[in-house]
């Protein structure tokens, strides 16, 4: 047992106030230099990097619910960088690098767990796509390789090599693939940001955005009006709704995305396993539960309800992949909202409104980008709108230039 635990056990008064990770609620000021709308991972990460690396601390993070309670809480915590486009691979590879050091940077364990991600090919077309992704990953410093069925058998002995009559022909083995405790990522950022003077206001909903002469000047909240120098919107799942309040339309359609978790069993599955053909991915958490995810729901909706259809389809395929788990028991099914773009890449950077910065379009790939988003969004804000190179390809106006960053093939059901 680590010595660091002794101090809690031998200290009869733990926790002192000084141990608190998050400050108690405080009053809202009438002005902040920067207002970040959305207290999820991305919002607090942006605040953290602003405070720690740019010395900008007159910052309020406004969260309508609770810290990290939106898609930060609802995703399946997968971290990977094995995308298809050079722009995407560069971006997510930087994110993975940051993730690996977060626990020590925060002094708060996010339980980063690098167990690798295995994506299965059941068709020749998939093998071609994987070979391309491996090559691009390697070119930009990521860790991926194409492996054969024998290697797959050794890596995941419990896997059915012919699920749903679709033989496993090859695998994309991404050793960088990892998970982290998703909530802890948001808490670690919030802890680091608030300890440097950033204010986190939960239960504070932005009801309107005031724009004068194409420039943002203030936000209205359920707790009053706040004037501000700049606004960052980081409200994955509701990006279009908030952007409409700021007076513009985003190229986003919002679909529910569901996931599920079983009762825990003793560990038998280390890597995350995903089959794009079966629209299913599976990972076993540090608690021993299996987590399942699949594709977004087939129609747009602003509701996080669960459906029977999705459960049946997803679990049928999960059982095809791992027949033994038919005996396991499902404990919980839930949903989140995914802001999908037509090219499966985010919308980041400038907006039509001056000093109103976008961190949107996070579809099913938002959690894994949390650190790099925070870092680059902070650079964007601190640089008064000078867009960092890494996120230039993701600008909103790419859709007007037909300059999409298409990650469709590397995204579907492989999170």
């Amino acid at each position: 047992m680590p010595f660091s635990l002794l101090k809690y056990g031998l200290n009869s008064d733990f926790p002192y106030e000084k141990h608190a990770d998050l400050p108690s609620p405080s009053a809202l000021k009438s002005h902040y230099d920067v207002v970040i709308i959305g207290g999820g991972g991305h919002g607090v990460a942006t605040a953290y990097y602003l405070a720690k690396y740019h010395g900008i601390t007159n910052v309020a993070v406004l969260e309508k619910g609770y810290l990290g309670g939106g898609n930060t809480a609802r995703n399946t915590a997968v971290i990977r960088s094995n995308y298809l486009t050079p722009e995407g691979v560069k971006f997510y590879t930087e994110s993975v690098k940051l993730f690996k050091e977060l626990s020590n940077e925060f002094d708060f364990n996010i339980m980063y767990s690098q167990r690798g991600q295995l994506t299965l090919a059941h068709t020749d077309a998939a093998i071609r796509g994987f070979r391309q992704r491996v090559a691009i990953n390697k070119h930009y410093g990521g860790q991926s390789e194409l492996i054969d069925p024998q290697q797959i058998r050794e890596l995941v002995p419990s896997l059915n090599m012919n699920p749903a009559d679709m033989p496993v022909l090859a695998g994309l083995w991404h050793t960088d693939g990892a998970t982290a405790r998703h909530d802890a990522v948001a808490w670690g950022y919030a802890k680091g940001a608030t300890s440097r003077g950033v204010e986190l206001h939960q239960l504070t909903e932005v009801t309107d955005v005031e724009v004068q002469q194409d420039k943002v000047t203030a936000v209205q909240t359920n707790r009053g009006k706040i004037s501000c120098g700049a606004v960052v919107q980081a409200v994955s799942g509701h990006s279009s709704i908030l952007a409409a309040k700021a007076g513009f339309k985003l190229p986003i359609t919002t679909y529910p995305l569901q996931a599920m978790v079983t009762l825990p069993v003793k560990p038998f599955l280390d890597p995350m396993v995903s089959s794009p053909s079966l629209h299913c991915y599976v990972q076993q958490t540090s608690r021993g539960e299996l987590v399942f995810g699949g594709g977004s729901d087939p129609y747009p909706l602003y509701s996080t309800r669960s459906t029977m259809d999705l459960k049946e389809g997803l679990l049928a395929n999960a059982v095809e992949l791992f027949p033994a788990i038919a005996q396991m028991r499902l404990m919980r099914q839930w949903g989140g909202l995914t802001d999908m773009t037509s090219d499966y890449s985010p919308v980041m950077g400038l907006s039509p409104v001056e000093n109103y910065y976008l961190d949107a379009g996070w579809g099913t790939w938002g959690f894994k980008a949390t650190p790099i988003c925070g870092k680059t969004m902070a650079q964007l804000v601190a640089g008064n709108g000078k867009v960092p190179e890494l996120i230039k390809p993701f600008s909103m106006e790419r859709f007007y230039r037909f300059a999409q960053v298409n990650e469709m093939g590397a995204t579907a059901a492989s999170h």
Binding site: P2, S4, L5, Y8, G9, F14, P15, H19, A20, D21, L22, P23, P25, G65, G68, G69, A73, P86, E101, S103, F108, N109, M111, S113, Q114, A125, R128, R131, Q132, R133, A135, I136, H139, W187, L263, V265, K266, P267, F268, S286, R287, G288, S306, T307, M308, K311, L315, A316, E320, P323, A324, A326, Q327, M328, L330, M331, Q333, W334, F402, N406
Partner: protein, 967 residues
Amino acid sequence: MNNLQRLKEPMGSLIERDRPVTFSFEGQSIVGLAGDSIASALLANNQWLISRSFKYHRPRGPLTMAGQDANTLVQLGGEPNVLADNQVIGAQMQVSGQNYSGSLESDRDALLGHFSRFMPVGFYYRSFFKPMGAWEKWEGFIRKKAGLGVLDLEAKPEYYDKEYLFYDLMVVGAGPAGLSAALKAADAGAQVLLVEEQRLLGGALSYHRFDIQGQQATSTLSSLVDKVQAHQNIQVMLSATCNAWFTDNYLPVIQDKRLFKVRVQECIVASGAFEQHVVFRNNDLPGIMMCSAASRLMKHYAVKPGQRAVVLTGNDTGYLTALDLAEQGVQIAAVVDMRESSLVSELQAAVRDAGIEVLCNSTVYEALATKGNKHVRAVDVRKISAPGEVASQARIIDCDLICMSAGFMPAYQLLCQAGGQLSYSDDTAQFTLSNLPAHLHVAGSVNGVHQLEQVIKDGQRAAGVALHNLSLGDETIEAVTCQSNHNYHWPIFSHPKGKDFVDFDEDLQAADIVNATRLGYRDIQLVKRFSTVGMGPSQGRHSALPTARLVAKATKRTVTQTGITTARPPFVPEKLALSAGRSFNPVRFTSMHHRHIALGAQMIAAGNWRRPAYYGSVEQREQAIQSEALQVRNKVGLIDVSTLGGIEVRGPDAAEFINRIYTFAFLKQPVGKTRYAVLTSEQGVVIDDGVACRIGENHFYVTATTTGVDQVYRQMLKWNAQWRLNIDVANVTSAFSAVNLAGPDARKVLQKLDSDVDLSIEAFPYLACREARIEGIPARLLRVGFVGELGYEIHVPSSCGEALWDLLMAAGKEFDIKPFGVETQRLLRLEKGHIIVGQDTDSMSHPGELSLNWAVSRKKPFFVGSRSVDIVMAQTQTRKLVGFTLDAIIEQPKEGHLVISGDDVAGHVTSCEYSASVGKCIGLAFAAIGDSQPGSSISIRVDSGALVEASVVSLPFFDPDNQRQEL
């Protein structure tokens, strides 16, 4: 105790006393009675230790006896996490405990409990990661400790299936409210499905005592049950769980190995309430259970739960349980009532009259354990001095059983899944549910109604509302109120030494919850996520209320302001096999499938279809493909192309429709001609291609790619929903089978067959199409050139596909005809530089990049994607799909390899094969626009990491003037 010492009848309604059943627990043989649950049989044999807790590995025994807690999770053979208090025993069952090191009886990991002070709530967030890299070592160790049961990875799949049911009304729960609701609705003519989770009807009527004399439940039960069972309009499902509420009353009911998917117009949830525990030190010891659990043990299983009991209560239930226990010979050491005095004084008097000591305004402050925390042996009872606080003077009372009842939490899960909101009054400690959707109703104790007469009325009231909605009744409906209060407002007595469990699943103590708020996690959801309270197998059934109370107090809010965490499906953990059902993976065979198999084809998947890849052994793959290709080039080959999509477009506007959908010009396409058809998306990306045949003035037959046809068909329907052109679109893919007869001798083969079409080059030139009869088979003949040889695509009704194949193979015999597969076709078309959409294109490819400008009409006003195509084609192009050849092959590039230009990725190889006809390795790749002219060279990075230089050449690679296909 053994089975001979079971309680006398009428105790034991679920067991058959003359049918012993032997099973094993932890390797020991156990004899129970038929009808016993694993847990009741174990208790009857004095085996109280059933499981070890998740974190501290504390001994645990039954808590609810109704499958509502995680204390009885056991391993049943290869199946983990089985609820021992629900699972009926069977002969030879092999049951064992879970989550221990050594044995269940002596678990080495139980030491962890002694170190709990060093593991405060969320300790893992504060430790294990320093110095950098330390976590990687700790992680493996911690991961091994995770999980409860063990999954048998060799388990063979069992048969599970599904069934659809349709009823006017579903009643969830067959307690007094559910039974009376079902009866009332059925009497009025509604078709009712009554779903009960337990094995018998009656709910609380089957085990709970409602009155001093103990008569009311039995008489009410028999009258209700008799009527329900006799009613023609009521279908009863026992041991069946309505496990979720999905939108519009779409209700999954699980029973044994079947998932019933039930649609009902109206649904009444009479799911009852979960009895709540009292938080005190060591409240988790075996021998401590809910009052209802003790009642169930006696009345359902005739098992005497202990010899000497202390009843700890915050409501009248405890008194009634004490009477039940006393009647069955359990000595009652005391009834400890947390309230000032009982609300029903006659009840208290009755208990005192039975010689039972009643201690009011008191609580159990600590349970004292036998060695190893194996069982409760005594209690430390104290006066309550203030909410949650006790006097210093202790009275120790010996006992081997504690029955507790802090109150009842509505079984609100289904209702909250439907959007219902649960609120709680801090003054009255009562719950209310609001905001339910239409057609979903609530009745009985889940609705806060507890007195039996009122419960029955409430069931009838809910039925009245449902009947009104069903147009089967129109009586005025009056609300039912309930005066009695079942919830004690503060049943939480923290102990400085802890082990005062709020959440048994996760081993969370009162201080853990409070400390989470002190660390800044003040929102109930954050408390849950930080402490993991309510995240265990029982999903907060018992922890939600005390947690909400503790958080409310610690953050100076009310319980309603604090709220409770979200209820999500399923209601109880359900086997994945139930949702998965029967394995159903439909596969499509063409009408010629069996011929391919007979000819030794290697079949590959193309969507759901199976197609021949090539003919021959896997070891001979390369040779087979090369020889099939040469056969087509030199003589004649036959390929099954039945999987190609086929779409009929008919009507006066057919030409206009095709002209809008596809990029080429089709308005003036002559009848009897085919034309290449490219489909772009609204983003201007090429998404499919095929051939449009004008069969008649108002009739087009269009082909599409095998995997693309469904999408093409949907797009066509979608667009015409807007355009409203006078046409009809039909996907006839399965209606037609087709072959491509290709090679220099193709005409000669076809001429051998009796047909009514002139095959001469003048009468039937390249790109023409004809309707004809071949040996009596109605056929559509298309002269197309995908593989670049003289060829006929012959489309016939699928019923004639096999006959056509046989006729052509027979006719071709003298020309040495050979079948060829899809992989061979891939090589042949590559030699001709023809793209395969999806392989040689990606999600950004516009027609310009693919050199398909010739297939895009610039003259017509519109086609789907035309605006985007115009814009992107006007932009500076950055890449282009080019043909390349490799003279000396050191390492052949593979599809997916990158084209490297300086430090950048310029593109990738999309197709690459060795061509015997060309005598080189040939391929297609995306290259930087500057390197796209024939004569340029591109660098391809192959598997070894080396860069291979390839020459960009003009297309096609073979027969550059395309003379062969026009013969």
